[in-house]
Symmetry: C2
Subunit: 341 residues, 2 copies
């Protein structure tokens, strides 16, 4: 099997988007109104999936995507906690519908109803709902719900512990993923996403979070931001901070995806990061949708880079494609086993 651990519903039905646009308009105008969620037909969902993600899954020979709401769409900084709760619930429900319609190809990961300055404990009810009622296998955790102002404490702070406790109870990982930047200094997918990955990794180096939560697991997307490219710097900084070797300090709990859109980047990732810490992913139909003129293939067709790797053995490729995902997402593994896979 080939499992893509990082997919977002970037092609949502128009009605879903219209709901959000109306909600934002009400917030911007200070209106205490709630938009009505419009009828979104199964047909619409089927069309947006079949013509896009499912088509590319088939084309690229990928079996399954771990699927969550559009990351840039989470917009935790917009409105207040109530705004975020309602939008998050609608977004997760939509993912649940996709999963129900295409159970062989998609399994859900939830958005959390975070809001700047709001205790993370307020996100737990939705997490519980998604795991216990909707069958989701993980969550996306935004380390910066302010959208580029970085007003939250580091991920190692006790601020986040209530969520971690529940994640451990459910044995689910979080992908560390920011949303749209509202800071003009940071381009959303070109700076904010990558910076957040790098920032999160360094926060984890500075702290000792996994002493408190030995089974907690994070996936750092976009190939770990800058971390693998600067692996020597991070090994050296851990050393300066009198931390254990990265291998012992973090790599039992921290994983990187393969959303790195060129061969030399994937080659670096698979050179410096142990194979057991790499999960296949493409974030397809995401930030970079074009065709690379240097290869003639889509930038985000990351399977090609794994296939072309001269370093990885077939067994290692299978670990990256399937084994690691089943280990990091035990609820996915259980779901697959129930289906005899």
């Amino acid at each position: 099997m080939i499992i893509d651990c990082h997919g977002h519903y970037t092609t949502e039905p128009a009605g879903h988007r219209a709901f959000r646009e109306t909600q934002i308009e009400f917030v911007r105008n200070g209106l205490d109104l709630e938009p009505v969620y419009p009828p979104v037909g199964d047909d619409e969902i089927r069309e947006t999936i079949e013509a896009n993600q499912l088509r590319l899954l088939h084309l690229r020979g990928i079996d399954m995507t771990i699927f969550s709401p559009r990351a840039a769409g989470m917009g935790h900084h917009i409105g207040d906690e109530t705004t975020s709760q309602k939008w998050t619930r609608a977004s997760n429900d939509l993912i649940a519908r996709v999963v129900a319609m295409f159970p062989e190809n998609f399994i859900g990961v939830c958005q959390l109803p975070q809001s700047p300055g709001v205790p993370i404990a307020h996100s737990i009810a939705e997490l519980e709902r998604c795991v216990t009622e909707l069958g989701f296998v993980g969550c996306n955790l935004n380390p910066d719900p302010s959208g580029g102002h970085w007003t939250s404490p580091p991920l190692t702070d006790r601020h986040w512990y209530p969520l971690y406790e529940r994640m451990v109870d459910y044995d689910i990982p979080a992908m560390i993923h920011v949303s749209t930047s509202c800071n003009p200094a940071f381009h959303t997918t070109g700076a904010h996403y990558i910076n957040a990955d790098t920032t999160a990794f360094m926060q984890l180096i500075q702290g000792d979070l996994f002493k408190d939560f030995p089974t907690l697991r994070f996936v750092i997307p976009h190939g770990g931001g800058a971390a693998p490219y600067h692996w020597g710097r991070y090994r050296g900084l851990a050393q300066e901070l009198k931390k254990p070797l990265l291998r012992d300090h973090l790599l039992g709990n921290v994983f990187f995806d393969t959303c790195v859109y060129h061969q030399p980047g994937i080659d670096l990732l698979t050179t410096v990061v142990p194979v057991g810490n790499i999960l296949f992913a493409s974030e397809m139909i995401g930030a970079v949708r074009g065709i690379d003129p240097e290869t003639g293939h889509h930038y985000d067709d990351t399977r090609r880079y794994i296939e072309a790797s001269l370093r990885l053995t077939p067994a290692q490729k299978q670990q990256i494609y399937e084994g690691n995902a089943r280990r990091v997402y035990p609820r996915l593994d259980a779901a697959l086993e129930r289906r005899g896979k």
Copy 2:
């Protein structure tokens, strides 16, 4: 010749540090007092340089360092414009003394007296002083003088144009370099530095700055942050934004240094970035001062990675060591030529 384009005076004499500590104490306590700059003897400067940077230059076979005040020490966010002006002047004067004492081994690059919310035009007098009176060959430009809150407009904004005009007049490049992070989310050298490099590169992709300033040149330090590792992403984002190929859009004006502290990182850099855009650097006695247990050598002994490169020809190594620096810093080249080098 081997020229290290990225060195900071991280081993400043105690009196210089004490001046700054007193200045910060006065600022913190709201006192309208000015500390007196204490006598700093030539002997002290000689000792701090000979035992540190100069010793390592000799040991590593490097001829010269382009030298500037300690980056983390710039602290543009501390106090107000007057605080920054006084500290900057003292810091640049100290660099000038090092250069005067060791003209064969050091040449100066200045800190700018930036301050959050203050027009960049207020930094020009000090730039002029450093170039025309002190013989400096470039400047360090902080894209985020707020120290991790990112309150300044992108580098492509007209906000920065008065400085660029003067840089073009003098034909000097800027290294894009932030200072200490006062945002607890960002570790200074593990997150803020690298994020700033990535952020600056993406800002330059988004804009068309070099249409307005065809000869303006920036060095992005720390191997360009995350940019080379995600080169496919950046090529693809430029494409989405309908910009020219990176080669044509940026690479006439943007250069990366080699402050990447392990072999695979340098190998990636030299694979994806044209050799003409790479300048040798170590930022030695900086963020990562330890010895890599995997190699037995200092992480920041970057010459070893260049030497060990299997990709680079001897001529290409010489470009990285010397040729590119002389091209990007014409005032350095002129100074060397005057000495018959």
